[in-house]
Every structure is written in structure tokens, then in C-alpha cells.
């Protein structure tokens, strides 16, 4: 089922596609604050206009000033996006030796604050004696963080004392590797199950629904896959499967 004898060349080709996704994630995170400033200004100016115009004796000069600012800030946001595009063009993905256990530990550490806030307990289940793998660390970290965040959110309706997420690594009998995130949340309804990895599919109005689709493409670019299985008695286990071949290319 999995293509484990990847040539270095085909991996590079696939990583070229992956790099766009990964860079997008990374840049989007970095630029979010800068972009939020003009957006916040635009939203606030526009809302101030609405309030001012509710008054029949509104000071139209003030309204005009605010609308000019809206235009300026919208152009500024456009500039930022153009700069983002330019930086994207120069991005190159890099394969390097990665310890899965170290990667998992680092990402869990990142998510600790969020977990505490949601009163979710995080536990590590790391397999011993895993070899180093040739991977592109950055996008994989993003995928794992996304899985972890989803799991934390999936626990919202779980009893407070049962909010527990297990994050870990394992080696499968066939030699492949898996990173997993297991929760005891409400689980994935059967009718949504097959659509979960589609781009832009989201069960929540406030999410763009790109996370799992990008994760899936990151996994495929490594010759692996992203999937999920129901957990007993409740909840879901998401797994990121990486081929045994990822270990063999380490010299």
C-alpha cells in the first residue's frame, strides 16, 4: 500500500510541491500579526463610520477621513501579501536527519499552554530505539501541531477528568513508522469520516479546513500517509505514517 522504496529524485520533486504548503504555513504564521494590524484598523474604522452615520448630524469630514484610512490600510495589507508571495518563491525544502521522538516532544511542549487552558492532559508514549529519519522537519511539525490542536478542541465536550491526549511514536511490524495523536473526544461522525482530508472541508465555521489537507499532502510527499481510526471506547486516533525507507537513506 505504501511506496517505501522512494528514490531521492522523486522525493525531491514531491517536496517541491510540499514546500509551497509548508512555506505557506510558516509565512502565514509569521505574517499573521503584521496582516492583523491593517485588518484591525480597517474593521475598526468601518465600524466607527457606521456608528457615526447613525447620527443624523454626523460629521461627514470625520467619516471621509476614516474611509480614506480604510483604503490606505487595505492597500497596505495587499502590499504585505505581495511581499509574502515573493518570499515564497525563494523557499526550498530541506531533508535532514530527524529524531521522531524529539520532534514529538518539542511539539507537545509547544501545545502545553493551549492544553492547560482547555484543561486537557497531554501524555507521551514514545517508542524506544527509533532510528533517525530523513525528513523535512518544519512541515511535519506543523502537521503534528495541527493534529494536536484539533484533538484539544475535540475534547471540549468531554468530562473534565477524562480530557486526556496521548501523543507518541511507534514502529509497525512492516517497518513503517507512525506518529499518533489519540483523544477521547466525541469522535468523527461516520458521514464526515471520508471527507475529513479534503481541502476546505471543515466541520467548524471558524476554520478554513486546510490543516488536514496540507497534512495529508506533507505525508504523501514523504511517501507516507495521514489517516485516522476510531479509538475504543471513544475518541479518535490520528496517525502520520512514514515509510521504512525514510530510515534507509541516512548514511
Amino acid at each position: 500500500m505504501l511506496n517505501s522504496n522512494l528514490t531521492s529524485a522523486s522525493l525531491q520533486t514531491q517536496l517541491a510541491q510540499l514546500s509551497r504548503d509548508a512555506a505557506l504555513c510558516e509565512m502565514a504564521g509569521g505574517i499573521a500579526h503584521e496582516l492583523n494590524q491593517p485588518l484591525a484598523a480597517i474593521a475598526t474604522y468601518a465600524q466607527a463610520c457606521t456608528r457615526m452615520l447613525a447620527n443624523p448630524q454626523a460629521d461627514l469630514q470625520q467619516v471621509r477621513l476614516a474611509l480614506n484610512e480604510v483604503t490606505t490600510q487595505a492597500l497596505r495589507a495587499g502590499e504585505l501579501i505581495r511581499a509574502l508571495r515573493q518570499r515564497l518563491g525563494h523557499y526550498r525544502a530541506q531533508l535532514g536527519p530527524v529524531s521522531l521522538n524529539e520532534m514529538v516532544t518539542a511539539v507537545v511542549h509547544l501545545a502545553e499552554g493551549e492544553a492547560q487552558r482547555a484543561h486537557v492532559q497531554l501524555s507521551l508514549e514514545l517508542a524506544a530505539d527509533l532510528p533517525e529519519l530523513q525528513l523535512d522537519l518544519l512541515p511535519l511539525q506543523h502537521v503534528l501541531l495541527e493534529l494536536l490542536r484539533n484533538a484539544i478542541e475535540a475534547q471540549q465536550d468531554t468530562a473534565a477528568d477524562a480530557r486526556h491526549i496521548y501523543v507518541g511514536t511507534r514502529r509497525l511490524p512492516g517497518g513503517d513508522f507512525e506518529v499518533f495523536v489519540r483523544d477521547h473526544g466525541t469522535g468523527v461522525p461516520a458521514e464526515l469520516s471520508h471527507r475529513l482530508l479534503e481541502p476546505l472541508f471543515s466541520s467548524r465555521a471558524d476554520k478554513a479546513g486546510l490543516g488536514l489537507a496540507i497534512g495529508s499532502s506533507v505525508a504523501r510527499a514523504h511517501g507516507g500517509s495521514l489517516g485516522h481510526r476510531a479509538n475504543t471506547p471513544s475518541g479518535t486516533e490520528f496517525y502520520l505514517r512514514l515509510p521504512a525507507g525514510a530510515a534507509e537513506t541516512v548514511s
Binding site: H33, A41, Y45, E69, E114
Partner: protein, 202 residues
């Protein structure tokens, strides 16, 4: 910036955000003052000035979190509302743990911001009233003589005059005079009110 009127202080390094917020505040009749940096705010604000602070969490120089710490060190009780980006959730958590009043993500709905500002201003007004009351109480208590302090303690424990006279080796008549002085100096209209005051004094 001298102000006895409740004022919404805005600290954000972005001129457009400051301008927009000031205009929004003005449109609902709230008084706003803005600063471009944490340093600028710290050098011009005095703890006596009532209001609330709307603060960007991420700024060059002194960050929003550091400004909050400085205010805490100064003993300023000004409620702080943090504005954060989507990626700043851990910072927002830290801010809440350090005693921030609330936070909201940029960009926001004006009503969400204004509701939070109203709550913060109410909180500040209430807190200042309590502080003032507690200070007045301390001042009145400080005017009691050592004997009156003794009498007040026994009064609030519900000790009858007859027994108090025995305890303090005084005449009942003298006890009654001390009691009257305690009530007058503490400006208490009833024993129940005096008991409440003594609880507040700790």
C-alpha cells in the same frame, strides 16, 4: 495627561490601529488617549488616573506583557485588555495569568471591544470606590485611643457592657462613654455596621 474622568488608554505601535480606536471611542462618547509605545505610556500615566488600558501584546521595545508587569510592580490596578493576533494564544494565556482583565483577537467586532471596555471601566470604578472607602475606614480607625480600640473589639464580639466593665476594670458609665466615642469616630450608625467595618479592617 491629567484626568479625573475615566479614560481609555490605548497603547499600540501601529498608528492606523490607534487612530481607528480613538475614532471608535469618540463615536460612542468615550474619552480616549493613545500612546505609540509602552515607555511613552509609563512615563505619562499615574496610578491615580481612572480608566482602563487597551494594550497590544506584541510591540517593539517594551512588550505588552512587560508593560503589564511594570504596572503590577507599581501597584497600579488599572484593568488591562489585551489585543492579540491568532498566533499569540500562549502570550494571551500568560497575560491572563498575570492578572489581565480580558483579551480579544484582532481584528474584532466593535461591540465586543466596547462591551469589554465598559466592563473594565465599571470594574475600575468599583475598585477605586472600595479602595477609597477602605482608606477612609483606616483613617477613622487610626483616630481611636488605645482604650477605644479595646472597647471596639469587645463590642464587635458582642460583650455586654456589664462584663466589659469587669474585663477592663472600669465603671459601666465610662464604658458607655467609650462606646459612644467609638460609634461617633467610626461613623457607625449601628452595631451591625460597626461589625462589618471591623471585618473590613481585618
Amino acid at each position: 495627561m491629567k484626568a479625573d474622568v475615566s479614560t481609555v488608554y490605548i497603547v499600540d505601535d501601529d498608528a492606523a490601529v490607534r487612530g481607528a480606536l480613538l475614532m471608535l471611542l469618540k463615536s460612542v462618547g468615550l474619552r480616549g488617549i493613545s500612546c505609540a509605545s509602552a515607555q511613552e505610556f509609563l512615563s505619562s500615566y499615574h496610578e491615580d488616573q481612572p480608566g482602563c488600558l487597551v494594550l497590544d501584546v506584541r510591540m517593539p521595545g517594551l512588550s505588552g506583557l512587560e508593560l503589564q508587569q511594570q504596572l503590577n510592580l507599581r501597584g497600579a490596578t488599572l484593568p488591562v485588555l489585551f489585543m492579540t493576533g491568532h498566533a499569540d494564544v500562549p502570550m494571551a494565556v500568560e497575560a491572563m495569568q498575570a492578572g489581565a482583565f480580558d483579551f480579544l483577537q484582532k481584528p474584532f467586532r466593535d461591540q465586543d471591544l466596547l462591551d469589554r471596555i465598559q466592563r473594565a471601566l465599571q470594574h475600575d470604578t468599583q475598585l477605586r470606590a472600595e479602595q477609597q472607602q477602605s482608606q477612609q475606614l483606616q483613617e477613622r480607625y487610626a483616630t481611636l485611643t488605645p482604650r477605644e480600640v479595646q472597647v471596639m473589639k469587645l463590642m464587635t464580639e458582642g460583650r455586654p457592657n456589664k462584663l466589659m466593665a469587669v474585663d477592663l476594670d472600669l465603671s459601666q458609665r465610662t464604658i458607655e462613654i467609650h462606646r459612644a466615642h467609638v460609634m461617633e469616630k467610626m461613623q457607625a450608625r449601628s452595631l451591625a455596621q460597626l461589625v462589618r467595618m471591623s471585618l473590613q479592617l481585618g
